[in-house]
């Protein structure tokens, strides 16, 4: 299985009232140091054979994102079946946010946090760098910005 992940986000200049509503709710959790929340969509496309970035880009450009209001990025996510430990992206909070440092199978949600190596930040500074930390062979995570209309 070959998975391509497309992240679709509203363009920065487009108002995101849903994100604002979430940001407005955070003080109720006692969180007061968040200045902005924006909500997007993550789309996982599983190809039967080799991941096809060109096709995925077409899909994203014509259907998944509306270039008038949205930008998207595309990346290949390493498959569970190939045994590579890397290629995961943060999917289940702090545990998966240190993808590549714990030994569980990729794409398996772990409910019991594994002990973290000393000094490991809970949230990587750059989430897209997480796959590379575990496996240099993980496919390229080059984001592709879309030009606006």
């Amino acid at each position: 299985m070959a998975r391509v992940v497309v992240d679709v986000m509203l363009k920065p200049e487009i108002l995101d009232p849903a994100g604002q509503a979430v940001a407005g709710a955070l003080p109720r959790l006692g969180v007061s140091d968040v200045s902005s929340v924006r909500i997007g969509k993550r789309v996982e496309i599983d190809f039967a054979g080799e991941p096809d970035l060109v096709r995925a880009r077409e899909i994203a450009d014509t259907l998944l994102a509306n270039p008038v209001i949205e930008d998207f990025t595309i990346r290949i996510e390493a498959a569970a079946a190939d045994g590579a430990p890397g290629g995961r992206t943060a999917a289940a909070g702090p545990v998966d946010a240190v993808a590549g440092t714990d030994p569980v199978e990729p794409n398996v949600t772990v409910s019991t946090p594994a002990p973290l190596p000393g000094g490991t930040p809970l949230v990587p500074a750059n989430p897209s760098a997480a796959p590379a930390a575990g496996s240099p062979s993980a496919a390229s995570a080059e984001p592709e910005g879309e030009p606006g209309q």
Binding site: L10, E13, I14, L15, P17, A18, A21, K41, L63, L64, N66, V68, I69, G148, Q149
Partner: protein, 236 residues
């Protein structure tokens, strides 16, 4: 008799009302099916309100790729009059027949009320029966009706007289520049968020102001409109 088609998508809600509006305006309503690329020789098309294909992904994003829309996009470029109402407007924007996009209402609430509009443009296939600047009362009901486009596009729309309807006395969804409806350059394609098909009879609507859109297209197509039908402001 002039034939006006109304496309039913899975999830369309207002297709029956639109067919009824077409009939009351004096045309022959033709039910079109989303999965049928054959437009059955209609002289105009209405894309009705609702939640086509569940509005998954984005409103209108999947409907745009339906068989019927493929034919309608081609025909619209050739001059076929097309009116998109609410979800139909969203589909027309997704299909790039109209500029801009419709996004989540700024206040996040679904808005359902009678809405005053000003007719800004009478030079279209769907508004020639109104007076320039006429104020009309038509129901609005949407959750994602906030019209957005980049400032350059908005300026062009204003300069070219392509803003067809503007919200009056309160903007129900945060649309930029109070835009409720726009047209394409040729004027045969018009989209608006409010629902003219719900304002065609005094028994059920806040006015009969909506009927003018369905009679305008008959005038545009060269069909005489029966006296006393549409165009004029009705009882409030």
């Amino acid at each position: 008799m002039t034939r006006i088609g109304v496309v039913t998508f899975p999830g369309s809600l207002d297709d029956r009302d639109a067919l009824r509006a077409v009939r009351l305006a004096g045309a022959e309503p033709v039910a079109l099916w989303h999965d049928d690329a054959d437009l059955h020789g209609v002289d105009g098309v209405v894309l009705p309100g609702g939640f086509s294909y569940g509005d998954y992904l984005r409103c209108g994003a999947i409907a745009r790729f339906s068989a019927a829309m493929g034919s309608i996009v081609d025909a619209a470029r050739g001059g076929l009059p097309v009116l998109g109402i609410c979800n139909g407007f969203q589909i027309l924007c997704e299909a790039h027949l109209l500029p801009g996009a419709l996004t989540r209402n700024q206040h996040l609430h679904f808005r359902n009320r009678d809405q005053w509009l000003r007719v800004e443009q009478t030079g279209t296939a769907w508004t020639n029966g109104y007076q320039q600047g006429q104020e009309i009362l038509i129901p609005v009901k949407n959750g994602e009706g906030c019209y957005v486009a980049d400032p350059r596009t908005l300026d062009e729309l204003e300069a070219d007289g392509r803003v067809v309807f503007r919200y009056l006395r309160g903007n129900p969804n945060g649309s930029q520049r109070d835009i409720a409806g726009v047209r394409n350059a040729a004027g045969n394609v018009v989209g608006l968020m409010p629902h003219p098909e719900h304002a065609i009879e005094s028994l059920t609507g806040p006015s009969v102001d909506g009927l003018g859109m369905f009679t305008s297209v008959l005038t545009h197509l060269g069909t005489p409109v029966a006296a006393g039908v549409g165009g004029e402001p009705g009882p409030r």
